[in-house]
């Protein structure tokens, strides 16, 4: 079976310089265009120039002003007119954040191919990560040692999750299943032998997560559905239908008694579900392209989403609408993964242009940009105690930054 992915190269006239060259799809102001690689570099250079000019000054809000409300007009008047930036207007009096110094503190090397997914253990120290070559590795992030390694029978393990107890990991991908492996420190035991197949979908598994206990797993799949499974018996407890295309990501509400989760898919919709009834409670459709990642705000009243349209957006559940958009003209590559810091003030987003942008959630401005990965950032999670965040990339490594 072919184990490689090949990028289909399209030749044609570039939308900017009109020369016949190999083209790449980029998103400028929510519009999809095809630029040749030279024009891609030019657009990114213009953005970099802007940033260097403003270096040293308090960064002004770089939102395009055409969307700003007129003075004296309430942004609550009608849902249709005042789409965006409401949080930024309320938060104008909030102190701006200072400069951030975040560096890569640990580099976890060992995967033989693209890292696709990772998760932290509740002990704030261990990390599980999965990659395209089928390997699932459990690391100790303090020492960078590998504690466990398992080879899945399929490639492209797109989802992995750590159990809340720290005693098992769940993973899945092109095999359409979600398997749970109990972690054992006994050197004589083969981890793969104790594997338990829990979920069965009709298409690839894109995301999985344990609920508050080790006993239930929530999965999202390319067949357009999400499902809740009982780990012990492998039985389907509830299924969630409603997405019109592949579901790419999901996140559970943070509260202990929470019974909802949010999912994002290729149909550009983010949907909030009630786990007990299987009903969709709310849905949001403002993105222009596939939603790659969704993450709840720490209070549970809002969630952020990262999409291929190069923007991240914040949706408030009680106001039932989008309340902030995090984008810049110089960012033209999709966001693959987002996560909040502990207080919810910072939003970390990993992009396909190999960088990680840190956004001020309230002000809507970019606080910091982190380089270091040599290929696209595919997954990003903040540790449970908020001291660091880990990013996994197609360059085969994971980086823990603090």
């Amino acid at each position: 079976m072919c184990d490689q992915t090949f990028l289909a190269v399209v030749f044609g006239p570039c939308d900017k310089c009109s020369k016949e060259k190999p083209l790449r799809a980029v998103y400028i102001k929510s519009e999809q265009l095809s630029y040749c690689s030279l024009c891609v570099e030019m657009v990114q250079l213009v953005g970099l120039h802007h940033r260097l000019k403003l270096h040293g000054l308090i960064p002004p809000s770089d939102i395009t002003h055409k969307h700003r409300d007129l003075p004296g007009q309430s942004f609550d008047a009608g849902l249709s007119n005042h789409r965006l930036f409401a949080v930024h207007q309320v938060a104008e009096r909030v102190e701006a954040l200072g400069q951030f110094v975040m560096k890569t503190r640990r580099t976890l090397k060992g995967h033989g191919n693209k890292v696709l997914c990772m998760d932290w253990c509740k002990d704030k120290r261990r990390i599980v990560s999965s990659s395209q070559d089928g390997k699932v590795i459990v690391w100790d992030s303090f020492t960078t040692n590998k504690e466990h390694a398992v080879t899945m029978p399929c490639t492209w393990v797109m989802a992995c999750a750590y159990a809340p107890s720290g005693c098992a990991v769940a993973c899945g991908g092109l095999d359409n299943k979600c398997s749970v492996y109990p972690l054992t420190f006994d050197k004589n035991e083969n981890m793969a032998a104790k594997k338990k197949s829990v979920a069965m979908h009709t298409n690839y598994l894109s995301a999985c997560s344990f609920t508050n206990s080790d006993m239930q797993i929530l999965t999202a799949s390319g067949d357009g559905t999400c499902a809740l499974w009982d780990v012990e018996s492998g039985q389907l407890l509830q299924s969630f239908h409603g997405h019109g295309a592949d579901v790419l990501c999901l996140d559970l509400a943070p509260s202990e008694t929470g019974n909802t989760f949010v999912s994002g898919g290729c149909d550009k919709k983010a949907m909030v579900w009630d786990m007990r009834s299987g009903q969709c409670i709310q849905s949001f459709e403002t993105h222009d392209s596939d939603i790659n990642s969704v993450r709840y705000y720490p209070s549970g009243d809002a969630f952020a989403s990262g999409s291929d349209d190069a923007t991240c957006r914040l949706y408030d559940l009680r106001a039932d609408r989008e309340v902030a958009i995090y984008s810049k003209e110089s960012i033209i590559f999709g966001a693959s993964s987002v996560d909040f810091s502990l207080s919810g003030r910072l939003l970390f987003a990993g992009y396909n242009d190999y960088t990680i942008n840190v956004w001020d959630v309230l002000k809507g401005s970019r606080v910091s940009i982190l380089f270091g990965h040599e290929n696209r950032v595919s997954t990003l999670r903040v540790s449970p105690d908020g001291t660091a965040f880990c990013s996994g990339s197609w360059d085969h490594t994971l980086r823990v930054s603090a």
Binding site: A86, S343, G344
Partner: protein, 73 residues
């Protein structure tokens, strides 16, 4: 999803489901954005002190930051 050759009854049933779903979604209680944003700001302010990535914790307490090496005299 039903293909282009789906029967008319199938389409009607699906449309009914969509309308029902939209009705439920339209009837939920919404609060004003100003209140929602104010709550988000309040949450950020309350938890800002405890956020290590925001405030920065001293290197001695951060397990990831390199500690100064000890010198044996």
């Amino acid at each position: 999803m039903s293909g282009k050759t789906a029967s008319t009854t199938n389409n009607i049933a699906q449309a009914r489901r969509t309308v029902q779903q939209l009705r439920t979604e339209a009837s939920i209680e919404r609060i004003k954005v100003s209140k929602a944003s104010a709550d988000l700001m309040l949450y950020c302010e309350e938890h800002a002190k405890k956020d290590p990535l925001l405030m920065g914790i001293p290197a001695s307490e951060n397990p990831f930051k390199d500690k100064k090496t000890c010198i044996l005299l």
